[in-house]
Subunit: 335 residues, 2 copies
Amino acid sequence: MVTLKQLAKELNVSISTVSKALNNSDEIGEETVKRVKELAALYNYKPNKVALSLKQNKTKTIGVIIPNILNHFLAKVLFAIEREATEYGYNIITCISNESLEKEIKSLQLLANGSVDGFILAVSKETQMKNETAHFNKIINQGLPIVMFDRVANDVLCDKVIVDDFDATYNAAKMLIGEKRKHIAFMSTIDDLSLGKLREKGFLKAIDEEPRITGYVLKLAEKDDEQKKIMKFLKDNKMIDGVISADSSSGVIALNTALSYGLKVPKDISVMGFTSLTIANHCIPRLTTIRQHANDIGACVTKLLLNRLQHKSSEELEFSTKIIKTSLVKSDSTL
Amino acid sequence: MVTLKQLAKELNVSISTVSKALNNSDEIGEETVKRVKELAALYNYKPNKVALSLKQNKTKTIGVIIPNILNHFLAKVLFAIEREATEYGYNIITCISNESLEKEIKSLQLLANGSVDGFILAVSKETQMKNETAHFNKIINQGLPIVMFDRVANDVLCDKVIVDDFDATYNAAKMLIGEKRKHIAFMSTIDDLSLGKLREKGFLKAIDEEPRITGYVLKLAEKDDEQKKIMKFLKDNKMIDGVISADSSSGVIALNTALSYGLKVPKDISVMGFTSLTIANHCIPRLTTIRQHANDIGACVTKLLLNRLQHKSSEELEFSTKIIKTSLVKSDSTL
DNA sequence: TTGAAAGCGCTAACAG
DNA sequence: CTGTTAGCGCTTTCAA
């Protein structure tokens, strides 16, 4: 990489002259500016990012900590964050916590040494289960802002972007009730997440409001053979005529299971889930889904962070919690 | 963030003393080392990464450029890269080219300003179609090593990690032929990728070797309604009794289509694809898959880059191309 | 055993 | 209009 020094030497001017010329300072003569710019272009000069960061004490880099990049929803949010960040001239350093508190702490610590200007993250499963927040507060006290999305730590004072989880399943259940379904099951592989609990509560609320409806709940653990459990569950509970899945996989499996049992979907049973459109469209019939608008979430979370970074006196800025409403995309697996 | 300067001031010693003490230099007295370390621990001192990078002229950061993070295979490789890089004390800056040549060039340029020590990337679709390589060579000439995986630019001199695409589909077809299938279809949404073409060639070779077998090829474009096309294709070609999918989705859809047509899988028709295990296990019966060992690929590609970075005189190091063999995971959608 | 000073690449206040 | 200088945080050589 060419440096200012080298350009200066070759042009027989001082380093600062070169710097100013390249930055269009009106202190420098037209002719000089031209000479400098030409040589810089010739050598493909790019200001060294590291030196700039050191000088300006900001890196224009965001640390993003994601619990699981194989989760389609989280990957989609990451995608949106990257796009939005790039748009504003920021890079992202990605760490994957792998649902582990320890890795989350490590990643945070590792990047809090001047590598990034702030963080965007979704809290890991283990962190949520242990209700650990000290590591977040430590970072914030060091002056690095955090913005959380989807899985947030309620007790930490920071910007947040979440989904209307309770309402989503409440409305979903209402919809199935509207279809005259009588035996509705709720399936979840994410019972240990607080948003998983919210989704269950929304479902139960809707069921409770209708005395003639029976609700069922199937909780699946990480290590379970999901397919086996769901097949057994639907075999043992033949009266079930509606399924709401709280996660991205169990709805798909429930749909396929129903079909394999010879049921007609949606005539005999309705199925819906928080599945990505891509996957939902692999199903025949296509699965009705609750869309979480990962794109909007990613854009929103990035804007919140950048806004805070650009405010000199970020102290003055109130912390906000944005709720991105889900929407029901009716497809062919419901009436 | 606390700096050496602040520690030095508080301890009434010089900056260099503090630095040396923290780096366990034996130049410094035992007592002083202790005092320094205690204060550093108290203030949670961490050497500023940016300053270190500037000083040492290396960032311990890898630029990773991925065409599409929603592709499960690519996401999995990214996951593995992140893990491996972290293991060796490297961070990754992720850019998503979104299959666009322009974005790929931009990302490369943007990070080639001292932000990263080297690149890991899979070539974007557009780049492959236009057979563009100048931007890669430019980066390499700047002294930044590139390691490519999966989708590589053959004409660029650099380390590469690929999959045995030809053999994978050749063997897959052989397997279906061994099942006495007579009418075997090959489906692909990735015909524009060179690895997509290789997979087709492998399939065709196997078909050509068996005069009594009929091969069919269905190519799907990005914007197609995959499900509709596949349903039509299987309806129009009722004699098909075997399907090999070159991508992650068409196999799943073909399987579901067959079921929806009342066919028994695998009795009446066998289906297999390059689908991730997660998705394959949503199917009933579970889909037989060709595993690409994303983990191994990610680990291999990272090791290659780090090895090159650690070699002072990287010139001496020969460029190598590693082939990670796929393996067939037989499941319930084949005999 | 400790400290002063230079330098990584850059910007900017100040001097000429 | 151009150059000198200081400084961002750190390591390291050389001097004390």
